[in-house]
């Protein structure tokens, strides 16, 4: 039985459809990186896993199963039990997600219950400075606060950790450190990880599997190596090609053309179609269904027919991204001197 299973989830905000039939599965102990453009619905999906959406959000369709339990159908008590036993969350803004009026140690103790060893849990995230448990959140630097949040989430050894851009605001050294902590702790405890991020290469480097979101749907999912290595979806390819880190100084990068969609109802066809260099007529008004391409599940009408490839040599998913980027086959990236 999969640990997390999201089926055709549709979430509506008053004026926006944030999720438009998202599908996702995650096996116990597995780490899944969920990447996608800004506004593609990552945070919404992450919150939906714990039914933590704001009151204005409505689940229009679909379901979320955590450890087999339908999250949206559970009565309050069972839901709480599920969250406590199976789920852990690390939110995007760590300082804001810590209670500002309580010392860090006290907050951790609340989570651990009586007899919990605060020192041990802080040490696990490399916070062995004795000042930390006595500090209030606003007295911590961003990186420290982030690690506290992780310590709290990991304290109960959840089966599934949902981490929403946990490293976005950290400098590269601390980011490495924090990621290391999370993944090693998860590995120890057999925790599954849902890692929401916009940093495709970084995710691909650490996670077992990667899912790519676009327009409220998971457009591609599969083993990390495959998703980045064997490009199957045009959007993934476009995304992979525009990392600024990959550009040399004075080189002009070209973003994916067009603007991300903002839906207010089901998209008629493929949401990426307007920006897709390979779009056909049916992409406009026929919703794609998942297709198995190699080891990936791809949501594209032309999946499989396309030969997508990384320009300027093969992308190296492992380790640092080298010079150059991942571009669609037709070589849409042009080099311009700034």
């Amino acid at each position: 039985m999969s640990l997390l299973s999201v089926r055709n989830l549709v979430i509506d905000y008053p004026r926006t459809r944030a999720l438009d039939g998202a599908d996702l599965t995650l096996q116990p102990g597995e780490s899944l990186g969920l990447v996608g453009e800004s506004g593609s619905g990552k945070s919404t999906l992450g919150s939906a896993v714990g039914r933590l959406l704001p009151t204005t959000a409505r689940r229009t369709d679909g379901e979320v199963l955590v450890a087999g339990e339908p999250v949206f159908e559970l009565p309050a008590a069972r839901l709480r039990h599920l969250r406590r036993k199976h789920l852990g969350f690390v939110f995007q803004d760590p300082i804001a997600s810590l209670d500002p009026t309580m010392r860090v140690g006290a907050q951790l103790r609340l989570v651990l219950g009586r007899g919990g060893d605060v020192g041990f849990h802080l040490a696990r995230v490399r916070l062995d400075d004795p000042r930390v448990p006595r500090a209030y959140p606003h007295q911590l630097s961003g990186g420290m606060a982030q690690r506290v949040a992780i310590a709290m989430a990991m304290a109960t050894s959840p089966e599934l950790l949902v981490a929403d851009e946990p490293t976005a605001a950290l400098d590269s050294q601390v980011r490495e450190e924090v990621s290391n902590v999370v993944f090693s702790l998860a590995a120890e405890a057999g925790t599954g990880i849902l890692w929401l991020s916009h940093d495709l290469p970084a995710v691909a480097r650490r996670c077992d599997r990667v899912a790519v979101m676009y327009g409220g749907r998971v457009v591609e999912s599969g083993p990390a190596r495959e998703v980045l290595g064997d490009l199957a979806h045009p959007y993934t390819a476009a995304l992979a090609g525009s990392a600024p880190a990959a550009a040399a100084h004075g080189v002009r990068l070209r973003p994916v053309p067009g603007r991300p969609p903002v839906l207010d109802g089901p998209s008629a066809g493929c949401a990426f179609a307007p920006r897709c260099p390979f779009a056909e007529e049916r992409c406009e008004h026929e919703r794609p269904v998942p297709v198995r391409v190699r080891e990936q599940d791809v949501l594209c009408h032309r999946a499989g027919e396309l030969e997508l490839r990384v320009s300027q040599g093969d992308a190296v998913p492992e380790g640092a991204v080298s010079e150059g980027g991942v571009v669609p086959q037709d070589g849409a990236v042009s080099e311009v001197k700034a």
Binding site: P54, T55, T56, A76, L79, R80
Partner: protein, 272 residues
């Protein structure tokens, strides 16, 4: 834009009805509030639909006049309080500093004067009457509101959007009005309706002591004060104005809460 909820709309409608009711009085609908029309302490009946008071005056026009007096008096008082408290509180909260602390302390010491002493002092300066009542209500309600607004303003002033506005070169007035004020408006709304209730109570007490509304003018405070004495012998005397007063304050409070919720665009969260 979030709409007012049903309860608040009910409150708004009630207030509207009361205002219409009050407007009827100067137009002579319901009769002369001061005229002695019948025997004393009569239960409701034709000629005096809400009964007569201890002077044989019909209660209906008196309640109508009273609603007008009270609503006008206390809402003006609350507007003044809200304006002053918002100004003091926001400026003090935003600026901080010793001078502001000093001003706050002074305001607080003023607050510690028992209301009647304050009222008598004010009446000494202004002479008894509505102005004195107004000033007393304002003086009694200002400090709490100022304090709470200041506390809220302190928190808001730390936010980055305030800093952004400052960087843009926004004038102090703009920062305070566009950024700090809307974010403390909920507090002002809640405390404003509270002040309104206090105002009505203080008005009743002052009139009782002779410093408020002067007879024969009716105000809800005066009517209820009188009705209170005749609670047993002539319950209608308190029932009429009492129901109207409770309806008014209730409506105001409910609307205040609704307003507060509306002023908060962020959605609330349930704890389950």
């Amino acid at each position: 834009m979030r709409r007012l909820d049903r309860l608040s709309i009910g409150g708004l409608v009630t207030l509207l009805v009361l205002v219409v009711f009050a407007l009827g009085s100067p137009m002579g609908i319901g009769g002369d509030p001061d005229a002695i029309v019948g025997p004393r302490l009569q239960p409701p009946g034709p000629g005096w639909w809400l009964g007569t008071d201890n002077l044989g005056r019909s209660l209906l026009p008196r309640v109508m006049e009273g609603v007008g007096t009270t609503l006008l008096l206390s809402s003006v008082a609350v507007l003044v309080t809200a304006a002053l408290s918002a100004t003091f509180g926001i400026v003090a909260g935003y600026r901080g500093g010793y001078l502001n602390e000093l001003v706050m302390r002074l305001v607080e010491v003023l607050y510690s004067f028992p209301a009647i002493v304050l009222a008598i002092l004010v009446a000494a300066v202004l002479g008894p009457g509505q102005t004195a009542a107004l000033a007393s209500i304002v003086l009694v309600t200002i400090p709490l509101m100022t304090r709470l607004v200041r506390a809220a303003a302190v928190a808001v002033s730390q936010r980055d959007y305030v800093t952004s506005a400052v960087i843009s070169g926004a004038r102090l007035s703009r920062v305070l009005v566009r950024h700090v004020l809307p974010n403390v408006a909920g507090t002002i709304a809640v405390q404003g309706t509270y002040a309104l209730s206090v105002g009505i109570a203080v008005e009743g007490g002052l009139s009782f002591l002779g410093f408020g509304v002067q007879p024969p003018q009716a105000s809800l405070g005066v009517l209820i004060q009188q009705g209170g004495t005749y609670m047993i012998a002539a319950p209608w005397l308190i029932l009429g104005p009492g129901v109207v007063l409770v309806a008014a304050i209730l409506a105001i409070n409910v609307v205040g809460d609704g307003l507060r919720d509306r002023l908060e665009p962020r959605e609330t969260r349930t704890l389950t």
